[in-house]
Symmetry: none
Subunit: 531 residues, 2 copies
Amino acid sequence: MVYIYDTTLRDGAQTRGVSFSLEDKLRITQALDDLGVHYIEGGWPGSNPKDLAYFETVKGLNLKNSKIVAFSSTKRKGIKIEEDANIAQLVKTKVPAVTVFGKSWDLHVTEALKISLEENLELIYQTIEYLKKYFDEVFFDAEHFFDGYKENPEYAVKTLKAAEEAGADCLILCDTNGGTLWYETEEIFDAVSKKVKAPLGIHAHNDSDMAVVNSLIAVKKGAIQIQGTINGLGERAGNANLCSIIPNLVIKMGYKSIPIENLKKLYSVSRLVSELLNRPHPANLPFVGDNAFAHKAGVHVSAVEKNPRTYEHINPELIGNRRRIMVSELSGRSNIVNKARELGIELDKNSPEVKKILEKIKYLEAQGYHFEGAEASFELLLKETLGMSKKYFELKGFRVFTEKRSEEEEAYAEATVKVEIPEEIAREKGIEDRFEHTAAEGRGPVEALDKALRKALEKFYPSIKEVKLTDYKVRILNEAAGTGASPRVLIESTDGKRKWGTVGVSPNVIEASWIALVDALKYKLMKDDEG
Amino acid sequence: MVYIYDTTLRDGAQTRGVSFSLEDKLRITQALDDLGVHYIEGGWPGSNPKDLAYFETVKGLNLKNSKIVAFSSTKRKGIKIEEDANIAQLVKTKVPAVTVFGKSWDLHVTEALKISLEENLELIYQTIEYLKKYFDEVFFDAEHFFDGYKENPEYAVKTLKAAEEAGADCLILCDTNGGTLWYETEEIFDAVSKKVKAPLGIHAHNDSDMAVVNSLIAVKKGAIQIQGTINGLGERAGNANLCSIIPNLVIKMGYKSIPIENLKKLYSVSRLVSELLNRPHPANLPFVGDNAFAHKAGVHVSAVEKNPRTYEHINPELIGNRRRIMVSELSGRSNIVNKARELGIELDKNSPEVKKILEKIKYLEAQGYHFEGAEASFELLLKETLGMSKKYFELKGFRVFTEKRSEEEEAYAEATVKVEIPEEIAREKGIEDRFEHTAAEGRGPVEALDKALRKALEKFYPSIKEVKLTDYKVRILNEAAGTGASPRVLIESTDGKRKWGTVGVSPNVIEASWIALVDALKYKLMKDDEG
């Protein structure tokens, strides 16, 4: 059994320019749990209040597969472990497992930590021995292990033995600087596995473009834990990319790890992380990139479909991706049918409705729409095209005004909105005046517009009050077009019972926000009616 | 000696969305020649007129290191080779070397080519025998070799023998579908090298995230030619990335190939290709990404500089890249002093100026400012705090109005801007009227504001006309605050001579854009004055 240990939220989060909100972290945690990842390293509780908040709120999630892991340094020298505030924070989290990192390279011990080699071993030993009293599983991350082993193999192994003797459940060899080549990994794992008895793991970095193969080599050499991140997120050249590792490990190498049927969620977890980071999803990612199975024109569609093996190294559907063929729309229709089925709607792949929906989606995608993270917008599109949802209101106009009167004064905004509800609905509700024209203010134009829109709708649909926006993201597509580029707005809303994501695209950022806001409120009204 | 064979212009160019103009191809050819690449595969002359044009014009370049290679399929069946138009085009190029590809997988021969296995061997033999009369070097690309070998090893080897007997100078084993794992590459190269005498090469694809290691393994097993592309450009998950292969091969594994002193050009060749493709240069590329040697905050700047080996797997300058240390909330005075030094300003770490600058930065960062990608804003902040820059203009107010009149009509925007220039500047320029109030329209509010601001400033500073916005990004900070969250706008501008990034943060997205736009234009004016 090979355990997948995800550190997207901790090591991945150390990437330049990356910042996950608490909401983001919880959404990713849920998605990783659905995928079936074994461990999720959520952060370093003793390092900052945001990480601490994660450990408190994550308990509220109903996780089925993943164990939450807290990360930490060893205890500080010179104080008793019971008095170490960082370690105390760790203990307070009461998670199922913790990972403690320690230096395995003598140079780092003397130059960076500035302690003796012996003291370092004691810190490792004492920390792990202590934590074993509070946690089922305690893992040891041997930092800079490979470089340390190359320079002073005896000392590097001593750090592992200190952890092992203290009761560590797994010793993870870390290629912290990412400089280790594949044959060095083979040699070092061979040597080390003869010297320690505890199970081994690997934590590779991609500075030499070797992280994936180093991770798989470790497993071939008997390692039982692979640490990595989604999309290889991480500082410098990134951490080991779990989206490459998992399909290779499970589908190609046949190891027992995440169940093979769960792998179809890989693509959506991968996309979710890109969405939450507000970054383009790299098209050339192996397995999970949108180009990964995009066949160039000239390849006969029928050849690929009759015998996909001739051109594809694995079936893309195994990991939730899909074949993209510029000539044919056949792959598109299967996707629509599958997604509709997930929503409880059975459609015929060859029906005109599916064709219509596919055309709409292609049109929108050409403008920059993506439905990952905005499934509610997709559901609305589907149901509206199928005539399964009603028109709740019509926009009769909005105006948004922003002013900044001088360099010293803050800008402010005012919005007016005109909406009208259909006659049938007005009759049902016994409302005479179908029309509302109202105004609101805000610090910014989108805030003002959002307030004005809700105000207008609450008059007819009081349940709108329950809706709260929990996430608002803007991405600029085709950024090279400068201020003429198209903003894509992604919104997450909640009414306390459920959460849903909607999207809007327009060269006008206010209009893009409007589209996403309107979808968010329409979705609420539609779900209320569905009961 | 390991020969580097670049196919950026041929296989790389097959990537979805990639198109190189003839100019681009010649610039890349020159850059690759400067780097010292041994072979440059420029295209398939028989396939289209653009490729043909390349081979005619490339003769005009004065190349010192690289041999130009033309690519082609084998001759057509059923006609004499002398009458094959495609082969004739190949011969006309009169380049030093050609590469011919043929099928090595029996499945492809029968299903895709629809000829007999025997016929296929003849096509290979006849084509190469014929071309050896015209070209010094003829290479054979054995397509789908690894999959072919796994299914019918005897036949796969027969295709190699056919090429060898015809006089091929190198037999390149191609992992066309990219599905081969590293240990399979080892086994297959071991087996094949016993069965043929001609030198071997490798052409790997990255579908399993294995292309780099597969290429290096081939060399360890005796291959003398590696085919790949700059930045791993190529269809699906890309070709083997030469920017990872070359440093590993030459610096780490010590093979004789491109001279080590040439490697410092690697970073700029890599950047050039991204520039010509008009794509962001991926920051996390190993070796050549801007993050490849970017150290996170918390790592003592002094530790890295005293002993780079502790944190860096190679010296970035060997490949033309540089260490980047972020100005971030955890960094301190050392960082400020270093960044100021990069700008040519010497500061005393313990001076009150540095303290003041640090406080400003911390204050801004707490609001969400990041200076990565916005070094111009940082430079402005530094110089303004040190009293080293002047006030070019003052905002007297802006107003931005967005309207959408119905669901069917598109939104549009109008902005008005009032600016005033200081008396001294007006006197210098001989301008009487210091004040300008003007308006502009746009599809969106930021576009309208940008236009109005430039219009107003161009009246006083004509050089503003040279400034173009090349990138506009918005990120919402603390997204969980919904529409009350703070947008951070990142802008990249250029005036044809230099490029610079600026940033603005505000709960009002228009104001945030304003701040970034103003910094972008102030920076231009400041640099113009600095000369």
